[in-house]
Amino acid sequence: MTSERLTPSASQVPDPEDRTRLRVEEFRKRRPRLIDEVVTMAHGAGGKSSAALVDHVFVEAFRNPLLEQLGDGALLRLPSGERLVFSTDSFVVQPIDFPGGTIGDLAINGTVNDLAVSGAVPQWISVAFVLEEGFPIDRLRQLAADMRAAADAAGVQIVTGDTKVVPHGSADGLYITTAGVGVVPADRELSPAAVRPGDRLIVSGTIADHGMAVMLARGNLAIEADIESDTAPVNGLVEALLAAAPSTRWMRDATRGGLGTVCNELAQTVGLGVVIDEGLLPIDPTVLGCCDMLGIDPIYVANEGKFVAVVAAEEAEAAVAALRGLPGGAQAAVIGEVIAEPAGIVAMRTPFGGTRIVDMLVGDPLPRIC
């Protein structure tokens, strides 16, 4: 097959199964429809329903070129020519304490990581609290300390904030919203347009830890396992990666929806295919065991301290070596590559020698994970 894209329309294809496949692909590329009358949990799950809600309600109302990029953060250009990234995120995780972290450090790391994978050096953070009447002050003090520690670890300052209290029963403990600003170094240029077949996909460490840690912490599964959330800032890892692999074209933190969702966003953004080699995925054996038991695919489970990067093949080895030399990057690995065909699709090569599709996740197996 040549690298030239083959895009016959469905009606030109003789094989009926191929015809259906092409028709489905054409259909998948359409703007997602919003058919629901009320908000459902699926609208918050990060999959197609979320995309439909954002597209039809928020983008519709707020429309502007900066917003329409729909990245993890907005890239803003100052009159001086300097570039900033501005990002925001809300946190509603339940329970608010879980092995490896709390809603406090999660709220800082989440925004730090969105800024970092957008190519910015995170600098300033705002914090807004919605508190439920009756929430213990001691616990709030502890969460604030967690946030301060996370900010120090990431090298950012919490510079402004807001507090609201709602009556007992109107919220579940507390919700936290953070926003952040980071500065993009002058010589840095990340561009999905530069992604080409042969580029390698790198993940910065083990996947699925956060989602499984929170799920088990809820205690309603009769499973006990020693799994900790991976919540951590990735800005140090991102800087190391960019130094070792200046070719880096694209990065995303694999939070809600997990690695599978991020890879689908990549395939659709660049209009190329992505192959993941299942055997190369770094997954903790305990996490994998729990996922298998619960029938959950680890590729869709949330991470809070991991990102995916696309780098040129010749720099992949150096990139992985740089990540492995840092705390939080020991399990970094090349997990796949970009291919020309099938365009827009993420395929998984199973260790068994088979192949399957990895689609966007539908429905939400684990609500309120961040």
């Binding site: 997602p32 077949p197 192959v275 190369l280 395929a347 090569r349 088979g354």
Partner: protein, 382 residues
């Protein structure tokens, strides 16, 4: 994962596929995997494209979510919307469309619908909420009946007055018979259901070779289990044998789980008939709560509408469930009917043939083989 790696060994798979290809020769074979769990494994591991093209795997009716007819979903939603009812269900059932949306929609509109991992969790919810009535939406083949049976026993022992079961349990043999009676399907044999057989054993399938002359191999759920079972079916054809064999002997005993069967007999009894999606009414094919447990039978305690609702016209789930058409042959597959906006049940459950094909299998055979045989850096598929 020490426990599964040995069942996913690529070298063993290659050797088995080679033996299968040799044994099949140029003949055409059509094997039905009865169980939705098998369908899931087949697509999840890309087995369809590993097998030679002259061996076709036909997906059967053994997806418990898929076979529940629309009217029963409507009844479930009616129950969920009753005042002071907490309606509990397995997660899969939340997204199954009835004629007025799904349980997920009912939940969004304010009904107290909760998903549980075990029916015993529903009993706990009943204990914690003495002022409300908790209904458990029981679905599944013989695989899940024992856990509902234990739950009924527990509820009775605790003397609960605010707990009942809406039983939609079904049995595996009647739909297999219905498929064997169907004239438009020429099968070469069955991959027998593994999980169901842990409970019922292998004896109930004897009628398949004896009456209908088709071999059965009860199969496990790891990819190598599937390949080995296909190989065993081909061996029966080569040797001119036709019998029930047990590939899943590490779990399934010929007599099944005697204790579970006894418990089922105490808590459930056969219905005279039950409607199956796509297959219509099948006599003695489903279980209702036993008269001795009538206090815990939601169908006794509530006057549900019980209206029979025809499937949407466009939906061909029935044909898919019978193996008469492949998922992609359905007119609405992947366009009007997708996992986000399912019209039929087969697109909802991860064990449904349509969902499995849509989520995992939508690849051209040659593309799949090229990607599967490649490695990072070899430019696979480029």
């Amino acid at each position: 994962m020490k426990f599964v790696d040995e069942f996913r060994d690529p070298a063993a798979a290659r050797a088995l596929v080679k033996s299968i290809t040799e044994l099949a020769g140029d003949d055409e074979f059509k094997f039905m995997e009865v169980c939705g769990g098998h369908t899931h494994t087949i697509y999840r591991h890309g087995i369809e494209h590993l097998l030679p093209a002259n061996i076709e795997l036909v997906h059967g009716p053994g997806c418990p979510v898929c076979v529940i007819p629309m009217g029963r979903i409507d009844d479930a939603m009616w129950l969920a919307e009753q005042p002071d009812v907490i309606f509990t269900t397995f997660g899969d059932m939340m997204r199954v469309p009835g004629s007025r949306g799904s349980l997920l929609d009912a939940k969004a509109r304010g009904a107290d619908v909760r998903f549980v991992y075990s029916p015993l969790d529903s009993v706990k919810i009943a204990i914690d909420n003495p002022d409300q009535h908790v209904v458990f939406f029981a679905v599944g083949f013989e695989t899940t009946v024992p856990s509902t049976a234990v739950t009924l026993m527990r509820a009775k022992a605790l003397g609960l007055t605010n707990f009942s079961v809406f039983s939609n349990h079904v049995t595996i043999v009647p739909p297999m018979k219905a498929i064997l009676e169907s004239p438009d399907l020429r099968l070469s044999g069955f991959l027998g259901p593994g999980h169901v057989s842990t409970v019922v054993g292998t004896h109930p399938y004897r009628f398949v070779p004896e009456v209908y002359g088709k071999p059965v191999v009860v199969a496990g759920f790891e990819p190598l289990d599937i390949l080995q079972s296909v190989y065993m079916l081909l061996e029966q054809h080569r040797d001119g044998r036709c019998e029930v064999e047990n590939q899943y002997a590490r779990v399934v005993r010929p007599e099944g789980n005697v204790a579970a069967l006894k418990l089922m007999g105490q808590t459930f009894q056969l219905r005279p008939h039950f409607e199956w999606r796509g297959l219509g009414f099948i006599s003695q094919s489903a279980l209702r709560v036993h008269d001795d447990f009538a206090d815990f039978d939601a169908e006794v305690r509530f006057s549900m509408p019980g209206v029979r609702v025809a499937d949407p016209k466009a939906c061909q789930c029935g044909e898919v469930l019978k193996g008469a058409i492949k998922p992609w042959e359905c007119k609405v597959f992947g366009t009007a009917c997708t996992p986000e906006t399912p019209i039929g049940t087969c697109m909802v459950s991860p064990e449904g043939a349509c969902a499995a094909y849509y989520n995992f299998g939508r690849l051209h055979r040659e593309t799949a083989q090229m990607v599967g045989q490649g490695a990072v850096g070899q430019g696979a598929g480029v």
